[in-house]
Symmetry: C2
Subunit: 327 residues, 2 copies
């Protein structure tokens, strides 16, 4: 209820008569109810959650009054002139149908709010890290002779018998490790071959996201670890977010490896696996206590190396995935 | 290449100077390359695929010239006045940034094209059905004493050691079966308790989607099966799509069960698990040869029943999932 009230304050301050929240993750964040099908949360003087018949039995889990709609279309033909919407979520069709001619403002403050995790959220993320870490340890000892697909299936099984999966496990071996988003294939893993494993669990809608590389070239691996440590060191409240990315890059540059680093240095993790803040060169803003982010330098040459840990921002960086082996 | 040419013809006919395809499924359909991160396919005189560095190594799998972008933003500042966009995919932020002031048209013809599957697509779907069916048979014999979560994990493991998963397996037992989108929980499955299992596999980016109900009340189950058969009978080329939904509903009405049927009667399946056409009351248009759809009546009272099969439309309906047990 507290979050909903904060959101209602934001809406009021901005002169928005009605905010229309469509993104399930944001509805969950504000109400405690995660819709499984079409839904809308109306942020107005008397907030109202609109849910389909399919979700009727569950919507009472939320902290807000709800109405089961027959046709969502009818409910969204609103008379308000000043309307809020998630501009990165609502599509152009929606705009043309419901918003054309209105004054619209972005409801991006919800995802700003989500950046700072409270105690309960951090607990769920910690549990999700523990489960992913246990799964990693389990499969790391049993790679040889199996296909990438089998290892990915085993890792997900280890996660799913205890929790949800955050995303489909990535297992990339040998040359395949040079592809950042390789999909597990029927390739068999050979002894002493480089393998990147990237997995995550989901506990109470909160995710973890961890990567480890086994049997990699010690030189490249050493450089990536050094870059990661340098990045993590910058992850403290009050420091510029972009400085973590710079620190990672400057170590890789020293080793003449920067050109093989193909993605950003990390991202926030919470109800979504990838959420704000992005840890990148052009990210504006400072780290704040309660943010949870990944730091994940990766090098993709003939073979790949990626090491990804999750950090809780505070006065100092706290590596939440410190116990995840191999490390 | 044929599909791309058809799309270019559509674009030309509509006077669109440049179509911007953002949805990964549509890029894959037109080019054979499935982007794993930000990408855009420009449908213009000389079509061009824009991919991130992360996808550079894979983009050559596509049938179209590609360029690796440094910043996608720069590439999308296009000078064309008449632009095409996927209006149900591109968001309002994108509209404001790149499209404001232009004449924009919907690229919805791509998803219209996708409705009709060719031989190769149908082969992939058949393989995905076989794998999901085998997984279903495997877990159906081993439910007792396990939790919903364990059964879902087992089903996904059975699928993932051979292929991709289409979506997270649903296993809903006892009272939980009355919730259409129940997420697998730690509840143990008791002997002779109703259990709905809804699973699917993914082969070469094509999905299957099948549901079975075990140990349900024979009366309700009988009504659902009768409704499903009536719906399937309507699935032939030239017939109104909505008539399959009407047929399902009229049987359920006879048994005074219609009010407990909370969703539509089915949907197309292909590169997406849910795609056009929706099998619903208000769907306009006729079945065409080569469509692949589900017919899936469900009743959600104290306990739930759902039976979902996949049908290939032709002169007569062909049940692709006929061999999936239990049936």
């Amino acid at each position: 209820m507290r979050r909903l009230n904060v959101a209602l304050e934001h809406v009021k301050e901005r002169g928005i008569e009605c905010g229309i929240v469509l993104k399930p993750e944001n509805i969950f964040y504000l109400t405690g109810f995660f819709p499984s099908s079409q839904a809308a949360l109306l942020l107005k003087q008397e907030p109202l959650l609109l849910v389909s018949k399919m979700d009727a039995a569950l919507a009472s889990a939320g902290c807000v009054e709800f109405k089961v709609f027959e046709k969502l279309e009818k409910e969204l033909k609103l008379k308000y002139k000043n309307v809020g919407i998630e501009k990165k979520y609502a599509n152009i069709k929606f705009y043309e149908k419901y918003l054309a001619g209105k004054n619209i403002q972005d409801l991006n403050f919800i995802e700003e709010m989500r950046k700072i995790k409270d105690k309960e959220e951090i607990e769920k993320i910690k549990k999700a890290i523990k489960i992913a870490g246990d799964a990693l340890a389990e499969v790391a000892d049993a790679l040889e002779g199996k296909t990438e697909r089998e290892v990915a299936a085993m890792a997900e099984y280890a996660i799913k018998k205890r929790a949800g999966a955050a995303f489909e496990a990535m297992v990339a071996s040998g040359k395949n490790s040079s592809i950042p988003h390789h999909m597990p294939s029927d390739k068999k893993i050979k002894p002493y071959e480089a393998v990147i494993i990237d997995i995550g669990a989901k506990v109470g809608y909160y995710n973890s996201d961890i990567s480890r590389t086994l049997n990699s070239n010690p030189d490249t691996y050493g450089a990536v670890i050094e870059a990661q440590r340098a990045g993590i060191k910058e992850c403290y409240a009050g420091n510029e977010i972009s400085s973590a990315d710079s620190a990672v890059r400057s170590v890789l540059r020293e080793y003449a490896l920067e050109e093989f680093f193909l993605h950003s240095s990390g991202h926030g993790v919470g109800i979504e696996v990838h959420e704000a803040p992005k840890i990148a060169k052009d990210t504006e803003g400072k780290f704040e206590a309660g943010m949870v982010v990944t730091i994940e330098p990766g090098i993709y040459k003939d073979f790949g190396v990626r090491v990804e840990d999750m950090i809780l921002i505070g006065k100092n960086p706290k590596i939440l995935s410190k116990k995840v082996k191999p490390c």
